[in-house]
Symmetry: C2
Subunit: 312 residues, 2 copies
């Protein structure tokens, strides 16, 4: 039973200092060490059986790791590690990320339907030009992924937009959604004005938003707050050029930071946001850590526990 | 009794063509004529007893006019006419302007707390730089004016922000506001993050937002969707320079279009919006016209009827 295990934990990256202090004061039973470089990670790793942090940026051997607590909602950087033990417990931080991402989506939907970047550019040339706005209340929104993040986004948009449709693997209904579909019935979804991807990165979701997917829509606002590998850059640019997507707001990319040479930077239908739609705070990390650790001690599971096979 | 009066009506400006067609088909008892220039207004005016349109842009004699139906919510351009008969009935168009203006305020509040213009500029130089966002749910909003426009704005923000405070002449409570104050008790209002002016233009509100007013606040987002003469340009710039106002979003100005030589165009803390927070549609005009005309026929009054002394 893992709950009775003694944990020697390595933490690293953003929030590591605050997290280390928190664990030292609140969980004396956990022996925590902070690494400040890749070489420190390498030297400390053989002596620990647990790690905690954002993306794991080295390919060191993690076969001896029994518990990983991710500081973010996405755990793909861990799941990609070849040495990962299938029995390793992975827990994650969701916090109010869904709410934050919902505010992010609301911000950019409003920015688009009110053309505020055009008005902003007009100001630079002292040009007075009225642009009619579309109303938020007329929009139908499709959210890809109906888990905690997708539901958080839907909750923020509920009551403001006309209709919120969810898409998930099973088509089972989910809180906050007026209706849900599965991927096989996607062609039945009609009159969508905004498509939001909250998909995690798994083997199934890689490049899932393909040309055929975008052809289902007409001049939609496309927002990606999930993971960048759900859509290939060239597929998206083609969808923009052919009018299926009117504007894209991208917060995530296959490679981050987005490489300088990417054509997305200069596409005037694309807004680049540097993975900031939901920024995990130390409070998010510590409260999810507490929920995860307490569940482990009781040998229970909750929605913070990742299914390695599903990938989220 | 005005309801039994036979109206000969002049219409002009934006929406005049649609309005003329609507009146001809729906109100055969009203004889309507459309003017397409100031000289046509001048030549037709002596033969009519009613006018309908946006701002009245000439200073012709209107002493014979018994009814004015304004296409917008602001009627100051009519009230300023020296020849206006104090007994002239003035009705106006509110439609869903409050709702639209609420969406406008929501758009720019979110744009500010998520620094989207900074991210937009960073994209131009291919720069990946995360900026933490403030949360909408933490903000306290003060709305100046609690009439139909102020209430419409409050309704859009309700449930999204922390608290909505209203300010009006009497301090009497109003729908959608958590609390209301009058101008004498304004110094009691604390912890405000956003100030929205929905004030009409009257002799009382002219330059009412003075240096002493802005000193009550610290680094607020200031939004003006009321009338531009509520605040002098130099007073606002001083409030920005002294930190009482962090950013200003201005949709209205003392002179519109805003003159090219205004220092506001180039102030990097000021966003200029060309009086587009709420754009009246022909449906807004005709539905308010119907409500106003029906009330007049029954010798009744409703909230579309302007009190000439109050100025709104």
């Amino acid at each position: 039973m893992q709950g009775s295990m003694e944990y020697r934990m390595l933490t690293y990256g953003r929030l590591a200092e605050d997290f280390e202090a928190h664990v030292k004061s609140s969980y004396p039973e956990i022996l925590i060490t902070k690494a400040t470089s890749k070489s420190e990670i390498k030297s400390i790793l053989p002596d620990v059986n647990a790690i905690a942090g954002f993306n794991f940026l080295t390919d060191e051997d993690v076969s001896g790791i029994k518990w990983i607590h991710a500081f973010g909602a996405g755990v793909d950087s861990y799941l990609k590690l070849e040495s990962l033990d299938p029995n390793t417990t992975i827990t994650r931080t969701t916090g109010d990320l869904g709410k934050q991402m919902g505010e992010f989506c609301l911000t950019y939907i409003l920015a688009e339907i009110r053309s505020i970047f055009t008005t902003y550019e007009n100001q630079k040339i002292a040009t007075w030009k009225q642009i009619p706005a579309r109303s938020l209340a007329d929009l139908n929104v499709l959210i890809l992924g109906t888990g905690s993040i997708g539901q958080g986004i839907a909750q923020q948009l509920n009551g403001l937009v006309n209709k919120i449709i969810g898409l998930n693997r099973s088509g089972t209904s989910a809180a906050q959604f007026h209706d849900t579909y599965n991927w096989d019935s996607i062609s039945q979804i009609q009159d969508i004005h905004v498509v939001i991807s909250a998909l995690p990165s798994t083997t199934e979701t890689s490049s899932i938003l393909d040309t055929a997917f975008f052809k289902l829509f007409n001049a939609v606002i496309f927002i990606n707050v999930g993971r960048g590998d759900a859509v290939d850059e060239n597929v998206l640019i083609e969808a923009i050029n052919s009018g299926h997507v009117n504007n894209a707001i991208l917060d995530v990319f296959p490679e981050e930071p987005l490489p300088k040479e990417s054509n997305l930077w200069t596409n005037d239908r694309v807004l680049i946001s540097p993975h900031q739609s939901g920024l995990t705070t130390i409070d998010d990390v510590t409260s999810c850590f507490k929920l995860a650790f307490n569940a482990m001690k009781r040998d229970e599971r909750n929605n913070l526990f990742v299914d390695q096979e599903k990938g989220y």
